[in-house]
Symmetry: D2
Subunit: 102 residues, 4 copies
């Protein structure tokens, strides 16, 4: 399993607000039942890479459906095959390391 972070940025909408698009993204992810987490800078989703990138194409489409004429999307994928990685584990592991050192 890999983790993908996606930030979908609509241009030329005449507004600085993107909260509406992010709410639609979250609703879609909940309908699909995919493990995900919203952050201040994007949405992190867990899954297989090819499935995650198919989903990215859907999420990228959302602002066009709401009237945007141009969308800039940034995606980061972290995919390791030497062991399973799940949402939330990396943060937990760093926090445990710091606690045991501190």
């Amino acid at each position: 399993m890999a983790l993908m972070e996606i930030s979908v940025v609509p241009l030329g909408t005449g507004t600085t607000s993107v909260g509406d698009y992010i709410a639609r993204i979250k609703t879609l992810l909940e309908e699909k039942g995919l493990p995900h987490r919203l952050t201040d800078m994007g949405t992190i989703i867990e899954g297989e890479v090819s499935e995650l990138l198919r989903l990215a194409a859907e999420l990228h489409e959302i602002p066009f459906g709401a009237g945007a004429k141009r969308v800039f999307t940034v995606i980061k994928i972290d995919d390791r095959r030497d062991r399973e990685v799940h949402l939330g584990e990396k943060v937990k592991s760093v926090e445990e390391r710091l606690r045991s050192e501190g």
Copy 2:
């Protein structure tokens, strides 16, 4: 105030693990007393843009200090000047919107 997300990726270290570098990043941010949040895909920090990018140069240096020979760093900045934005507010605002709609 702006938000910056930074992911620092060391290459050529012969290991797939990056948790050690992330722990050092977190320790540095705590020493500096900067508002920040660890996610599975990076570290989000709140501050003025020029200050955030000075900090990014320091965080980017950490894996070199630990022996890496090449570092690939990805930074996203979200900076709005029409109103104040603080760490955690965007997520909270989307969740409230969804609750009020649901």
Copy 3:
């Protein structure tokens, strides 16, 4: 048509060199006959978004086939629907603007 830029970064390979992976990416794009351009920071490809992201999944897989255990991939998509955009046009348009001003 949209433009996608992709940077595929293998971790834990014990080498700082990524040229070999980039050569394989370029070979694959030439076999597929897709309009693309190599830059120092990634590969830019022109196409429909869903097609580009299917391709991204293939390109992301290349270092695993060559022995990498972890791959970090960064993708940017610039997609405008108010008019056609093709590879090389944005750079040309900025250069023409500067020439006519200069």
Copy 4:
């Protein structure tokens, strides 16, 4: 020396065009005499990391000076210390590799 790629995306301007901002970025880089290259997805600049990130703060500011209320900036840094890297070398090296194989 490192390479930095920067994409500066203004939001809420009511227009999908960003060519004007990119022209201002290019003009600033030429005035400063920094080695750089425009691509369809950003601007690549060669320099020391701390210098590059100071410059990034300046480039990020350009759309605000032109009336934007929110700016989303994406930066990638590729920094290797095992040998010198200059603008254009990576692309050239991959092309030579493919020619010698072909």
